[in-house]
Symmetry: C2
Subunit: 228 residues, 2 copies
DNA sequence: CGCCGGAATCTGTGATCACATATGTCAACG
DNA sequence: CGTTGACATATGTGATCACAGATTCCGGCG
């Protein structure tokens, strides 16, 4: 019944064109290369990606469902602009959800897991010194930590919230914000070793609060982005 | 510049076929008419709905992004089956998020809002006696309450969680569950009048816990649904 | 100069088709 | 009887096209 389970072969990943297009569009958005409020068109993206309109349609609809895009007007896709109030609400949610995941992770973490996190943290610090895309390593640290909690649904909610603030995080590069994160991450690791769940939660909360403060300070004072 | 602002006219809603198809498929799923684990096909749904395959494709991809559907296998849409652990995790999240919204709603509620909630509650109780689709009125009560908190992002997360448990809620009809909800809702309304936020949260928590208990008791004891 | 109107263009939507491939059926062979 | 192989069917994906309607631009009128 069971086919030959030869370890020599690895599964062929038949990734659809749709998925590739979605990943690429999302990458560009999350990298902050498109300003919030920008209008995106199906044919325009299809031309830049070198595909037909069809995979782009599907990708945009998916981004719409994920609230990365909004439709204002009958046939108009636009990058969502996060108001100051919405940003603060997301921060509040993240403090609650990610704090809970951190506490659970502290209780579940094996020695092996802590070592893996240490490794990611070293990569984060080195990418911070070399000066490029430390935000990706930062995200890796957080989600590797949260994954330990074994809460797939909560994790998906947190991922959704990160995606919604992603464009802002990357647009305002938070130049000096990364330095603060180093200490907070180290505090998390120290708390993990001691199995001190409240301390780990507090360190993550401080990390999120500091990052949010950097964004909020650079954000235009008024309500939403003026959008042209 | 401003067109004639005549109150006599109301906006024409140009609802796309896509949206109608999505709403109809979701209605059928949420009504429990399709068992979790069922396979759905684009052409099959298109034939039953009397449309082309295109709007159905978009609707299925949206339901996929909303985690109502899953793809197992390269070209296979399937209704997601919620494991017991996932259901309990969602319950935990709902207790936290909906509890928070309830507390905030208690502090924000105007007299007018409480009266509206009373009205919805009367409709809920009458639909419970007449015996049909009281779940819809129940949902109206909860979301009318939560909307008072003025937390759009949190509300969207809660709506997502409701959609994920919807098929189970409606599949196991929770015959006697509705009776318990009446008292809990009344307790919420009483707490609202007295501006007692913790009491309101406790009443909502009791409501969610009782409903979940009914589902968990009827759920097959093991892990997931056996799915044919 | 300002406002209205019509043509041209652009855009998302929906339909139809071609294609690769997964699935199911069934006969032939061991 | 169980397994294998080929053939037939079904399905999602991606491409292309037609269409309605929104937007833009420009000319003409007041």
């Amino acid at each position: 019944m069971e086919a030959q389970t030869n370890k020599a072969f690895r599964r062929i990943s038949h990734e659809t064109l749709n998925e590739q297009v979605y990943q690429e569009i999302r990458r560009v958005i999350m990298a902050g290369l498109l300003q919030p409020g920008s209008v995106v068109t199906i044919r325009g993206l299809a031309a830049q990606l070198g595909t037909s309109t069809m995979p782009v349609r599907d990708a945009l609809r998916r981004l719409l469902a994920e609230r990365i895009l909004v439709m204002d007007g009958p046939r108009r896709y636009r990058l969502r602009v996060l108001s100051r109030g919405e940003f603060e609400e997301i921060l509040c949610l993240r403090l609650s959800l990610e704090g809970e995941l951190t506490e659970l992770a502290t209780l579940c973490a094996a020695q092996q897991d802590i070592e893996t996190l240490n490794q990611i943290q070293r990569r984060f610090e080195s990418s911070l010194k070399s000066g490029d895309n430390f935000l990706e390593a930062n995200q890796d640290f957080h989600f590797a930590l949260y994954a330990l909690a074994q809460r797939p649904i909560t994790l998906s909610l947190v991922r959704s919230l990160w995606m919604q603030v992603g464009p802002l995080l990357n647009h305002y590069r938070m130049q000096q914000g990364g330095e603060l994160a180093v200490e907070h991450h180290r505090a998390v690791l120290a708390a993990l070793k001691k199995r001190n769940a409240p301390a780990a939660r507090a360190a993550i909360a401080a990390d999120l609060n500091d990052a949010a403060r950097v964004i909020l300070d650079e954000l235009p004072a008024g309500a939403d982005d003026p959008l042209q």
